[in-house]
Amino acid sequence: MSDFYIWPDMPGLSVTVLVVGSMIFLYLARTPLHLALDSLNDGIAGGLHKISDWINGLVEKMREKNRKVLLESSIADSEQKIAQEFKKVESSYIKHLADYPKLHLKLDESISKIDEDYKECGQAVPEAPGWNDAVQSIASIKGAASNDRVIEKMLKELHKSAVDGEKQALNELRKTASQRHKVLSSMAPIWKKILKLMGTVETQVTHVIETTRKIDKYMKDYNSVLKGGEDSIDMLGSKATKLFVFSVLVIVVAGFGAFVNFNLIALPMSELVPAGNRVMGMQVSDISALVIVTLEIVLGIFLMEALGITNIFPQVGSMTSSKKKLLLYASLLGLFFLASVEAALAVLREHIAETNAATTQALAGATEATGGAGNSQITVIGQATLGFVLPWILAMVAVPLEMLIESAQHALYKFLILIVLLVGYVIRTIGHIVQMIMKTLIHIYDAYIIVPAKIGEMITGESSVASRKK
């Protein structure tokens, strides 16, 4: 500091001269210096504001793009669902309507049979049951008590004939009634058959109605998405976010499953695959175990595609059903093979672990092995089961994977928008701070030259603020 003193032996005077000199200089240079500070302010704060505005524009563009992505993916999803339902309807119609003529024929046959039976019932008319009255009437004729033997004999004969006739008529009636019962009882299974057929018709009609309702719902969704209103965008956005969160959760859990699976087969793989080399720091045997786990996931994806549960590969979706079946069986066979291999490896792992333990004990000088054989059997069975089951569980990862792929784009956009918005806010805030600092600097500057400014005002009679504004 003393280097700047004009008179080093008089610091007070030197400082006073420096302050007064700087005041006069700054007063005289106030206009260009104010202009320079204003320009600096405009340059920095204005530039930052412009960057912030550009970021806001960028955010809007990203939002618009996200909106389009959401709409397009949702439209594609709705179209796919509708197409699937139509396919179901088509296959259902082909299947059931193909059966309908047969069904109709069966119904016709049954109804004709009932009609015939009914007619047969009508044809077998029983004899009129009037014999009883006739017999009674003959028996009550007074001629029976007239002592005329001829009349008495004749009446007796008549009575006898009447009784016989009655018996015969009764027999006929019973016979006819029995025949009618037989006919009626033979109609019962036909009725049951008709009832069953009608039940089948009802099930099929209900199925078709359900499918139609589904199509109706999808069409409504499709229309609302096509309109692209804010509500539908919000709804789609929240749906995609939910889907993303859940799929990430499931994928993380599946990742742990894959880790367990990998550890189960990594050790025994070193027994099968030469582990003398490494790729990117990993033993070849470890890579082989990793390949097996990855293959299980890949086969699971193809299995789900062939079953129509996922639609990651459109080519698989558009395959003929016979080719799909082929893919399904191939995936199932592959998975079964890998699951069996894993179960075998899990058994081998336990064997290696036991041998390792026994060797360590032997090296430590133990004379007897510890641990029961029964325990070991349970471990082997448990590991083998785990080895067989885990591939099938991992195969199901295809479903959340598809969900993740579908929703990741939206989630990524949302995250990017958040980051860009944050950067925009930070830049705008920095711009404001710079503006305030510049203003404060100008005020401090004015305060520093207040004495010469006031003297100048008194001499010229003009305000320094007014002169600056000029």
């Binding site: 070193s270 030469p274 582990a275 990117m280 720091g281 290696i352 041998t355 090296l363 000088g365």
Partner: protein, 224 residues
């Protein structure tokens, strides 16, 4: 056509990258040397040393690791002093068989009645250093089972090169105290400090003299 060409270039780069990133296992392997003093008063510790090697070092070895057993006698810088060598196979089942076989060799060594008058620790260390370097293993460890009192036979000269113990971790194990050490601990401490300075001056990675047999597994894990 353009896409096919791009795919071909991508596949080519992928293959080149994969093969270029193929590395030798040597960097991940561990080579261990156990120097066992069979001279003077320390000769009676033979069985104890073998026990420590069998229970502490051999079980910690993983497939690909190598172990040398070198005897410290009057003239240790001799290939005949390499009493046993074990390189574990990458197949776990084979490795276990090798461990058991090596344990038998160690037992045979423990039962030998050989003893020497002089103690050439430096010669054994130089022999061990050469063997460890030859393995090119990523981790190289030297365990010295001795009282660390060197007595060279007249006419034998030992001087280390500057990089004699480069990349080697050295630990003095089971260092028993001699009668003179018990009488004056400073003699023992001075001797150990001298060894520490000597090995560190010749590029040793680290030096430990207070390891107990139970610390060996952790010591190996830390160095790997």
């Amino acid at each position: 056509m353009k896409i096919k060409r791009k795919l071909a270039i991508f596949a080519l780069f992928g293959t080149v990258f994969t093969f270029s990133s193929c590395s030798d296992n040597k960097d991940y392997e561990t080579a261990i040397c156990a120097l066992t003093d069979i001279s003077g008063t320390y000769a009676k510790e033979k069985k104890n040393m073998v026990k420590i090697i069998k229970a502490g070092i051999v079980p910690k070895m993983v497939p690909g690791d190598t172990l040398f057993l070198i005897a410290i006698d009057s003239n240790s810088y001799n290939d005949k002093n390499i009493k046993a060598k074990l390189t574990l196979d990458y197949r776990p089942s084979k490795a276990n068989d090798q461990r058991l076989q090596f344990a038998k060799t160690l037992d045979g060594f423990a039962n030998e009645s050989s003893s020497s008058k002089y103690t050439d620790i430096s010669g054994a260390m130089m022999l061990c250093s050469g063997q460890l370097k030859a393995t090119e293993a990523g981790t190289q460890l030297m365990f010295i089972f001795s009282d660390m009192k060197e007595e060279l036979k007249p006419g034998i000269k030992r001087s280390f090169e500057k990089t004699e113990f480069e990349n080697i971790d050295i630990a003095a194990m089971n260092v028993i105290k001699l009668d003179a050490d018990s009488a004056n601990p400073e003699i023992f401490r001075k001797r150990i400090r001298k060894w520490e300075k000597r090995v560190l001056d010749h590029s040793a990675k680290s030096w430990d003299a207070d390891l107990s047999p139970t610390d060996i597994p952790d010591y190996i894990d830390e160095r790997k």
